[in-house]
């Protein structure tokens, strides 16, 4: 049985009437890369804030390597964080930033300098190491942000939406870094609301919404939740109420309504041959449909099934 490096049990946190985390439980193995997938407001950042010790007044427990994470300050030496913000000094250069943030972990200076060089090479910033960070592009800054989280060789790395606001190329580069870190034995918790990112990067995926985990497993395991069904995405100028009323009149044998919102609906079909009949039913009732897509079973379908809403909501 794999020993868990991180165990979160029944974590709950509320902001007044709003529940951010509700009996949230999760565990993570050594070297495992876990993608925490959820829409905005799902509770991802609250979870990272609690793990990083900047949010209090919660219930539940978090153990790291079998010890209470919040009781032993020494454990902080073993955990790295990559916050959503570009948390570094823009008026310093990349090397100076790494040496400063690494210095907080009491790493010997010689080793720290060596580690800084290695990391700059890993995030492909070696050639720009002496330039002030304020001259960097958004992608370069994001890569430096990740490098700082790794400067003290953490056993657990927490990344809070590390790819926000950057182009595709920079995003791919960061996802590569995350995969490499996982391969080297560092456990990673990686929050995002981009399905493609977790599909490409994570060995295990947890879908969370409204402060709790709805489903978790490998990509294949999660897709089995939906089953081998075709997913139809219907778009147009209709209201959720109008669509629901019309689709209820359709003989839904083998069809599952995954989600319905204004202008968009997702339906899963066990028998793809029923799709044309469904389309005819919609057209006959003059539902203003603009687009219709048929998709193979994927994580998005799982997410829609589990949360009843799209990640863009």
């Amino acid at each position: 049985m794999q020993q868990h490096i991180l165990e979160i049990k029944n974590l709950s946190k509320s902001y007044g009437e709003t529940v951010a985390l509700a009996n949230f439980s999760l565990d993570l193995g050594k070297g495992e890369v876990l993608g925490l997938l959820g829409p905005n407001g799902a509770g991802k950042t609250t979870l990272i804030s609690i793990l990083s010790g900047t949010l209090r007044d919660f219930t539940g427990s978090v153990t790291f390597k079998g010890q209470d994470l919040f009781a032993d300050r020494g454990l902080k030496n073993l955990i790295g964080i990559v916050p959503q913000e570009m948390a570094f000094y823009e008026d310093l250069n990349a090397t100076e930033n790494l040496l400063f943030w690494g210095g907080l972990y009491a790493i010997p200076e010689k080793e720290l300098k060596k580690r800084a060089r290695e990391l700059l090479a890993l995030v492909e910033l070696g050639a720009r190491a002496r330039e002030p960070v304020k001259k960097f592009s958004g992608g370069m800054k994001r890569r430096l942000n990740v490098a700082i989280g790794l400067i003290h060789r953490p056993e657990l790395l927490l990344l809070d939406e590390p790819t926000v606001g950057i182009d595709v190329q920079a995003k791919m580069s960061i996802l590569d870094i995350i995969r490499n870190v996982g391969r080297e034995g560092t456990s990673v918790v990686f929050t995002t609301h981009q399905l493609s990112e977790v599909e490409q990067t994570c060995a295990r995926i947890a879908i969370m919404d409204r402060g709790t985990i709805l489903a978790q497993g490998t990509l294949a395991e999660l897709i089995r939740i939906v089953g081998e069904k075709e997913v139809v995405e219907v778009s147009g100028e209709f209201s959720a109420a109008a669509f629901s009323a019309i689709i209820q009149q359709f003989d839904g044998n083998g069809m599952e309504v995954l989600s319905v919102t204004d202008n968009q609906a997702h339906l899963a079909f066990a028998d793809p041959e029923r799709i044309p009949a469904m389309m005819q039913h919609l057209f006959q009732r003059h539902l203003p449909i603009a687009d219709l897509k048929i998709k193979s079973p994927n994580l998005e379908a799982v997410f829609l099934k589990m949360t009843g809403r799209s990640l863009r909501d």
Partner: protein, 416 residues
Amino acid sequence: MSRTTLIVRNDLRRRLRAPMATILFLVIPLAMTGVIGMVFNPGADNRTQLPPIRLLVVDNDKDLAAKFLLGAFDQKELKDMFQVTLTDTATGEALMRKGKASAMLVIPEHFSDDLADQKPTALEVVKNPSEEFLPGVAEEFAATMAVGFSALAQVFADELKVIKSVRNLSLEAVTIADMTPFLEMARAKIIALRSYLSPLLLTVSSSTTTRPGREARASGFNIFSYIFPGMLIMFLLFTIEPSLREIQNERADGKTRRMMFSPLSGLELVTARIFSGWLLGMAVCLLAMGAGTLIFGIDWVSYPLQLALVAAACLCCAALFAMLNAFFRNKNQAGAFASPIILVFSAFGGSLLPLEQLPAGMRWVGRFTINNWFITGCREIMDGRLPIAALLVLTVSGLFFAAVAMAVLPRRLSAG
């Protein structure tokens, strides 16, 4: 290297990378001191020299005492001090309205006769309300003359009566024999007075010392040394404040969260921030004081005492802003409140107006400002005194503010 030292070094390095704000806060107090000093017209040697007092004199008496009084203004020292213009009342008032004179001295009718008859009489001084200082000097001078004339009139009362009677007669009608008894009386009084006045039994010798046994190098008053400490402490507050506001900036941009996730404790971070502010303040303050000496010839008198005072003031400033940032909710609030606080401190504490010119109520409030104690301490050192109260107040307040900041801020920082 300790984590506190690491943060301090990082802060100072960043300040050196973008030195413009610090340089401005170093240059502005020097420039403002220079401008204000120039307005008050210092001489080439930086010693203040009063301009001549433009005094209008309306002589409604035109007799002996009035002539005697006017003659006094022809003496060397008074001639340098007063620029006397004889005029009549209407013209004098018109000139005063136009601001052409500092004061008008009106010698009343029958001034000489009233003195001779031992009757009360009054010299009138009309002061120009648009001037602060020079009319006061003219008034003081008139008051001194009044005392002198009163004394002479009383001592030579009998002689004045004779002089008055003689004036009304033709010279042919007065014989030496008539005058002899009075001349003898006057002679006796002059001889008696001479024993008091020549030589004077009591004389005043004046000198200015900086510390016991040491005579001052300069005998004048350097207006820059009067203005500069106030400017210096105001801009010291402006210099140190941004260092402590970094606490809010770093909370907003996630650096604090990242720091708090490292083994760094909130207490270490607050200590480092206060120390950074203190160190930066010390460096800027000492540079400014050196520049003050080179540019304005300010004599700080005791460098060890000034260093102690600057250290205490910088501690107080840094700790004050650390404490305030423990209660500010965010960087916008910190930014909005910091400058007004500094300006209020400066207005009440004597940076913008001399402490002596402030109303009593403001001066009382001013005792709760860093500016007041720094300026007072500086002046005490320049006067050769120990600034014990200033040092004590600044140090104890600084330690108190630091203690509050260290108690409250770490919890807020840990909360991200």
